[in-house]
């Protein structure tokens, strides 16, 4: 229970050659879920005939028809609201919000409605929806296509927040999210849709197919929500990260020769607190890394939890590396991004104590 998962589920020899990028893995998860459960419906701006601006829903309308995969008006409020109504009917909607930056018009329907239906109706009505949305920067998206608003959702009681960092995880976590009877916010780090990102934007990008995390078995499998993944095992420092930053911290540790215990949280709510405690108690040091703005970011919650629960094991203050408290700038994107220099210096500091 207390250990983070270290290995993917075993794959057959035939599966071992089936390598997908994160877009294909998400598409596969939707396909598997729709085939398994006729109540699953997919909707959103441009998701139908066209298959989504990032192609995550490509081919699904052809396969499942226009009443299960369809385009919507440009109205995030309306998209979330009709998903609430569909959930009340008994469907299992998977709405897409084209960019996380556009989710705000739907916030009242998420916070006051979806997240509270079960509670306010004492279980008579639930909102078993999964809201998929690409998030994060690193693609020159400017301030309206780069944000990481996860902390807005982790602050709301009744919502689960999931962020995958590999194709294998994206499929297994998305299937779990869709099968979950509570509303789930599923943020897809769009910088790593096509390949992991080392943080060195000036080096050539690598496609997912060169990495084992892109081996995605066919058919149904799921990864439980609330279980972290151990990325690398080490004794010197615990690093808590999710999404794109998992790959950046892994690369920085490799470059600096630091044996770090890197935990990919995968789910922020519910959080795998046992894996975090077990790791920090062993290493005595904790670095938290996220791309989102710093103040009241999810790192603040993690820092508080580690301090409250592991204080007497700590040999250095908990450190946070985050984006800056500015809008995401277009031309200065890489000055904003918490890259190798910011992470490296924080590691030096925490290890020097």
């Amino acid at each position: 229970m207390s250990e983070a998962q270290t290995k993917n589920a075993p794959v057959s020899e035939q599966d071992a050659t089936r390598r997908l990028n994160m877009i294909e893995a998400i598409n596969d998860a939707l396909d598997v879920s729709m085939a398994k459960d006729p109540d699953v419906v997919v909707m959103g701006e441009d998701v139908g005939y066209f298959g989504g601006v990032f192609r995550c829903t490509a081919g699904l309308q052809d396969k499942y028809g226009k009443t299960r995969v369809f385009d919507t008006p440009i109205s995030e409020c309306g998209i979330i609201a009709v998903a609430v109504g569909m959930g009340a009917y008994g469907l299992r909607p998977v709405p897409e919000i084209q960019f996380a930056d556009y989710i705000y018009p739907g916030l009242d329907q998420l916070i006051s409605e979806a997240a509270r239906l079960r509670y306010r109706s004492a279980g008579e009505y639930i909102a078993p929806m999964t809201v998929r949305s690409p998030f994060g920067g690193g693609i020159f998206g400017g301030q309206t296509h780069s944000q990481s608003p996860e902390a807005i959702f982790t602050h709301v009681s009744g919502l689960k927040t999931v962020i995958p960092s590999t194709p294998y995880d994206a499929k297994g976590l998305l299937i779990s999210a869709i099968e979950d009877n509570d509303p789930v916010i599923f943020f897809e780090p769009k910088r790593i849709y096509n390949g992991p990102f080392s943080g060195y934007y000036d080096k050539p990008a690598q496609p997912w197919k060169r990495f084992d995390e892109s081996v995605v078995p066919e058919g149904h499998y799921s990864i439980p929500l609330g279980k972290a993944r151990r990325v690398t095992e080490g004794d010197r420092v615990t690093i808590l990260a999710y999404g794109t930053m998992v790959h950046v911290v892994e690369e920085v540790c490799k470059q600096k020769g630091i044996e770090a215990d890197i935990l990919d949280l995968r789910t922020l709510v519910p959080l795998d607190i046992e894996a975090i405690e077990a790791s920090v108690e062993r290493t005595g040091r904790c670095l938290i890394v996220h791309e989102a703005t710093r103040t009241s970011g999810f790192g603040a919650e993690l820092s508080a939890l580690v301090t409250e629960r592991c204080f007497y094991h700590l040999e250095a203050p908990v450190e946070r590396v985050t984006g800056f408290d500015t809008p995401y700038p277009h031309s200065l994107e890489w000055a904003y991004f918490p890259g190798p220099i910011r992470i490296g210096e924080a590691l030096d500091k925490i290890l020097a104590e």
Partner: protein, 437 residues
């Protein structure tokens, strides 16, 4: 004044702009004159086929569908031709709703609960409309549609338990009084956030259509909250997907202290909102129980025939305050209620039945008395489960249930803390709760 961008001569010769802030016609103490309201004769409105193109019914969005005339008789094509037994049932539900409101209002004043909202004068917009739907059509009400639950036979004791937040409350004391929920009666959980239910109803209707079901959805929203973006989303999604849904706008003239002008009523009707979306739009005398029934039935037939959604404006008057927390004498003329040109829905239906020779004042008196007695008796039964703040509430740990399907670790820890605080305050155990919170 805000600085202009630099540039010579800008605005020099143009007239001064002025901002219009709507103002109601009458304020406290003013004599009321409603002669500006155009009230057409009963029976004059055309009744198009339910499957017609919304283009053919523009005048219905600006007129007023009325059936009951000054002579207390039913007139014209919208007469739903209900048999006397059905009319008496309708009257009974409306009388019961009014009796319920009276008693619950008093209960709040006696300190038995924190809050209540009457629907006095608007009974027909929920009771009659609901009667025109099938019992398993899904309704997404706002907070003033208690008439639907009464019409659908929801046990009154459940309503009172909810209002008292007592140990019998099926919603476990979590919701503000009157925010009912009953899946069994196809009645959606009332939000309290305004207009959120309108696009949800459209979503439910879309789901019903996706599944090839035969049930339709209906939602109720006040004219004030049509200003919310959610209402625009509802209209857009309804028309885009031709959803089998009815959008009922209850124009009761007042949103707390803001008159309907703050939702746009100075410029056009609420039914006319339908036109821009290509929805069927009907404007109906909301104090005419037969017109309410007929309009809802028309819209239900239309939805059931896959002919499309309908937006209905029920033109009515909020005869009481917004809620027990509101005092309308502070912002509107008391004469409005007495001078309201469309009368009272209960009186009008009663007079109609009398005119038909199917009812009389004695039976009405008897019915009102029986309704009051029934509410009183049920209130007593509910009070055995406790009233707000008197300890007879749900076990303490239910506070943490239903946030998620399963209790995550952080809520388990918080529940333990809450129970610990409870045990510290009441070391001998709770007076009415037994052990274990």
């Amino acid at each position: 004044m805000a600085d202009r961008p630099s540039g010579a001569g800008q605005g020099d010769n143009r007239p001064k702009l002025s901002l219009h802030v709507p103002e109601p016609k009458f304020r406290p103490g003013d004599a009321v004159d409603f002669s500006h309201l155009q009230v057409p004769e009963a029976g004059t409105a055309i009744r198009p086929d339910e499957t017609c193109d919304p283009k053919e019914m523009h005048e219905l969005a600006y007129g007023l569908v009325r059936v009951l005339g000054e002579d207390n008789k039913a007139h014209g094509a919208w007469d739903p031709k209900l048999d006397p037994e059905t009319l008496r049932k309708m009257l009974g539900h409306m009388a019961m709703t009014r009796a319920f409101d009276e008693r619950m209002f008093r209960g709040q004043r006696q300190g038995k609960t924190s809050f209540y909202m009457k629907c006095t004068g608007e009974e027909a917009t929920s009771v009659s409309a609901s009667m025109a739907l099938a019992a398993d059509d899904m309704v997404f009400p706002s907070y003033r549609q208690q008439g639907i639950l009464i019409q659908r036979g929801y046990p009154m004791i459940e309503m009172i338990n909810q209002i008292y937040s007592n140990k019998g409350d099926k919603l476990k004391g979590r919701q503000l009084p009157i925010m009912y929920s009953s899946r069994e009666h196809s009645f959606f959980t009332i939000s309290g956030n305004l207009a959120t239910q309108t696009p949800q109803a459209v979503g439910w209707a879309m789901a019903s259509a996706i599944k090839g079901d035969s049930r339709i959805a209906a939602t109720w929203v006040g004219e004030g909250s049509t200003a919310e973006g959610d209402f625009h989303s509802a209209c857009t999604f309804a028309t885009v997907y031709n959803a089998p849904v009815i959008l009922n706008v209850i124009n009761n003239q007042w949103a707390i202290s803001s008159f309907s002008g703050f939702a746009g009523a100075e410029r056009t009707t609420f039914a006319a909102r339908a036109l821009g979306y290509g929805l069927a739009g009907l404007r109906v005398d909301g104090n005419d129980a037969l017109a309410c029934y007929a309009a809802e039935q028309w819209a239900a037939n239309r939805a059931r025939a896959n002919a499309g959604p309908t937006l209905i404006e029920f033109f009515t008057y909020r005869a009481e305050g917004h809620s027990t927390s509101d005092d309308p004498t502070g912002y509107r003329s008391a004469q409005e209620r007495t001078e309201w040109p469309l009368g009272d829905p209960v009186t009008r239906l009663k007079d109609h039945l009398i005119a038909l020779g199917e009812w009389d004042e004695e039976r009405q008196e008897k019915m009102d008395l029986e309704a009051a007695e029934h509410v009183k008796k049920t209130t007593k039964e509910a009070e055995a489960n406790g009233i707000l703040g008197h300890g007879l509430h749900h076990p303490f740990r239910t506070m943490f249930e239903d946030v998620f399907e399963e209790l995550p670790w952080h809520l388990k820890e918080q529940a333990e803390q809450a129970i610990h605080e409870r045990e510290t305050k009441f070391p001998e155990g709770l007076p009415n709760e037994g052990k274990g919170a």
